[in-house]
């Protein structure tokens, strides 16, 4: 089964692509650093965010109920979906009732996870993604590679080509300003025409019975305002208790994601506008299972800023698509294995445990520690490859017994001395690296000779 190593290697075949992705994502990381420096209570905010989330999860049923009841009292239709299939069916039913032939959708990783677009398309309703980056990858028939900047792996030349192919723009003009105007002109007409606006949710405020959506482009507001029906999909973990908790997260979100003090538009929807209807679909799809997992439940605290992906050298150089999951980067590596141990078993190992992700996470999820925890879980449940298990057995054999250890060490040093080339060819280590030079003796040998 193809896992992260194979996909990353595939991605890396194009050196320009690696350079582009790494450069773009590091730019976001640097911007985040600068933004953080300007917030004197940054570390207190992180602690508050973490504590609010931990509390919320411990009373999640209460807050979900409070949200649903308040939202309903505000005139919002609240739906519940156990899984992706049920979510998609609810959306389809609402669209059929509204007799729509095409819908626009703003960025929602939940709808990516539920594979809503292909589902609606199979049922005769095309979906147009209105987030600029998402629209570009949609035209290319690719998945987004990053939850905040979906086209971060593409350079302007590639985007110019894509737009020329699908939107009849000038293939030789790769100015980002021109390219942006091409896409937004195309989208504006579609947005105005669409009767229904599909959106995600950044925060659902329980005491308010309302939702908050953050964008930079304004595509959510445009779509919702020019439509008669707003359908917002949210995961159960998006709940926060009070309005007063909202600024804690908002002060962290955009700074962590892009380095700006806030997103341009922070839109609050607490009920349908006049002459329109609003729906919120509350989705589980495996989240309650993750909640029950003592070791990994903190992953539900994630606010989708993408900072962990931006700082992760593995994501930057192996690419977001190597995760083969709706969410890339370190948080993806923790959430995905919960869904499919075998398909995503390589993700927790796609990590050097460097800890950078944990240091940038605005809600203090100990991301790198959760990678190690997943390794333990996968090993103990037998979801690790035969090769890995063999290697582990060999390591234990050698490292637990001094005599075997010294013998193995001596053998290794001898082999390094007499046949380094052969050794290099036998191991993936040797593909791009020389093996270390063979020391004449071990430290223990030296110590016995010189110090005892």
């Amino acid at each position: 089964m193809k896992g992260h190593p194979e996909r990353a290697a595939e991605f890396a075949k194009d050196a320009t692509r690696v350079e582009t992705t790494d450069r773009n994502m590091w730019t976001a990381r640097s911007s985040r650093d600068r933004a953080r420096a300007a917030v004197p209570d940054w570390e207190e905010l992180r602690t508050a965010a973490s504590t609010i989330k931990a509390h919320t999860m411990s009373r999640l049923d209460h807050y979900l109920t409070q949200f649903a009841d308040s939202a309903t009292a505000n005139g919002i239709h609240v739906h519940w979906a156990k899984d992706a299939e049920e979510h998609n069916q609810i959306v389809l039913k609402l669209l059929r009732e509204a007799e729509v032939t095409e819908v626009v959708k703003s960025k929602s990783m939940l709808t990516e996870e539920c594979e809503l677009n292909p589902f609606l398309e199979r049922n005769g309703i095309p979906v147009i993604d209105t987030d600029l980056g998402e629209r570009v990858v949609q035209l290319r028939e690719e998945a987004p590679s990053h939850i905040v900047t979906p086209a971060i792996h593409l350079n302007r030349g590639q985007i110019a080509q894509t737009l020329a192919e699908h939107l009849r723009s000038d293939p030789d003009n790769d100015d980002p300003h021109y390219l942006t105007s091409v896409v937004s002109k195309d989208l504006r007409g579609r947005i105005h025409r669409s009767k229904v606006a599909l959106t995600g949710v950044n925060y659902a405020v329980a005491e308010l019975g309302g939702i908050v959506i953050c964008t930079n482009e304004g595509n959510v507001d445009l779509a919702v305002a020019t439509s008669d029906i707003h359908i917002a999909s949210m995961g159960i973990e998006k709940i926060i208790p009070r309005l007063a908790d909202l600024p804690v997260f908002l002060r962290l979100l955009a700074r962590s994601a892009t380095g700006m003090p806030s997103t341009i538009y922070t839109s609050h929807f607490t009920g349908p506008r006049q002459d329109s209807t609003m729906h919120v679909i509350i989705v589980d799809n495996g989240r309650s299972q993750l909640l029950a997992d003592e070791d990994h439940r903190e992953a539900l605290h994630c606010i989708r800023c993408g900072a962990c992906a931006n700082t992760c050298h593995v994501t930057r150089r192996g690419g977001g698509h190597a995760y083969d999951f709706s969410t890339s980067g370190p948080i993806g590596s923790i959430v995905a294995p919960a869904r499919d141990h075998d398909r995503y078993g390589s993700l927790p190992f796609a990590c050097t445990l460097c800890g950078s992700c944990s240091d940038v996470c605005p809600v203090r999820i100990p991301l790198h520690r959760l990678h190690l925890s997943w390794r333990r879980r996968l090993l103990s449940q037998g979801h690790v490859s035969a090769d890995k298990r063999r290697l582990l057995a060999q390591m234990n054999m050698v490292l637990r017994t001094p005599q075997r250890y010294r013998l193995a060490g001596k053998a290794l040093r001898t082999a390094l001395r007499i046949a380094p080339g052969l050794l290099a060819r036998l191991s993936p280590w040797g593909k791009q690296r020389d093996l270390p030079p063979a020391p004449p003796e071990s430290f223990r040998d030296w110590y016995r000779k010189h110090r005892k």
């Binding site: 773009n24 730019t27 976001a28 004197p40 209570d41 905010l45 504590t51 609010i52 509390h55 411990s58 999640l60 049923d61 979900l64 109920t65 649903a68 005139g75 519940w80 979906a81 987030d131 600029l132 980056g133 570009v136 900047t149 086209a151 971060i152 942006t180 937004s184 989208l187 504006r188 930079n216 482009e217 304004g218 507001d221 445009l222 305002a225 159960i236 208790p241 009070r242 309005l243 007063a244 908790d245 909202l246 600024p247 700006m260 003090p261 806030s262 341009i264 538009y265 922070t266 839109s267 609050h268 929807f269 009920g271 506008r273 509350i282 589980d284 299972q289 909640l291 029950a292 439940r297």
Partner: protein, 188 residues
């Protein structure tokens, strides 16, 4: 029923109860929030104006934009009917009820806007605000905006002209929404 299924699954798996922290209080700041607001606004791409005579300042801003269409002044009640049309506007003028200095953001509500997309789709957004309405932190901002959220189904913080950096992290202004963002401090 799926509502019960989801809630039961959550009840079964949720962690042991942890306390709700008190509402967060941001550190106090002694400096002038209006000066900070102006500084951040400029960084995020907005234009700052201090108006001794509001009408003159507004004319100075909107005059050069005439080619983009008529101006829509939503600060006066009579315009609520006009606001329903989707005609491209050169500028829309709205009242900013709260300003948050740390983000250069203003709260705009739907009161005079039948269709809430107007702050997004006009060429230039002009927000008129008073000194007293500007606070330092988003925490204070929400304390003030709470009342609007009680009464109205829609409200937003706007913190600059529409932006995207989806292409090679290059900043492009005026992506799908307004290309120009003006905040006018009304001093009388």
């Amino acid at each position: 029923m799926s509502r019960d299924a989801v809630l039961n699954a959550v009840r079964a798996g949720k962690p042991p109860k942890l306390p709700l922290p008190p509402p967060y209080s941001a550190p106090e700041r002694a400096d002038d929030p209006v000066a900070e607001f102006a500084r951040i606004l400029t960084i995020v791409g907005g234009h700052w104006h201090v108006a001794t005579d509001l009408a003159t300042t507004l004319a100075e801003i909107t005059g050069p934009l005439a080619e983009h269409g008529p101006v829509l002044d939503c600060t006066s009640a009579e315009t609520s009917e006009v606001a329903k049309s989707a005609t491209p506007r050169s500028a829309v003028i709205v009242d900013g009820r709260v300003g948050v200095a740390e983000m250069g953001a203003v709260w705009v509500g739907p009161t005079l806007l039948a269709r809430s997309y107007l702050p997004v789709v006009c060429h230039a957004l002009v927000v008129v605000i008073t000194r007293e309405a500007i606070v330092h932190s988003l925490h204070e901002g929400y304390a003030r905006a709470a009342q609007y959220l009680e009464d109205e189904p829609y409200g937003m913080w706007i913190a600059g002209p529409s932006k995207t950096a989806d292409i090679e992290k290059t900043l492009v202004i005026g992506a799908q929404g307004t290309a120009a963002h003006h905040i006018v401090l009304k001093t009388c």
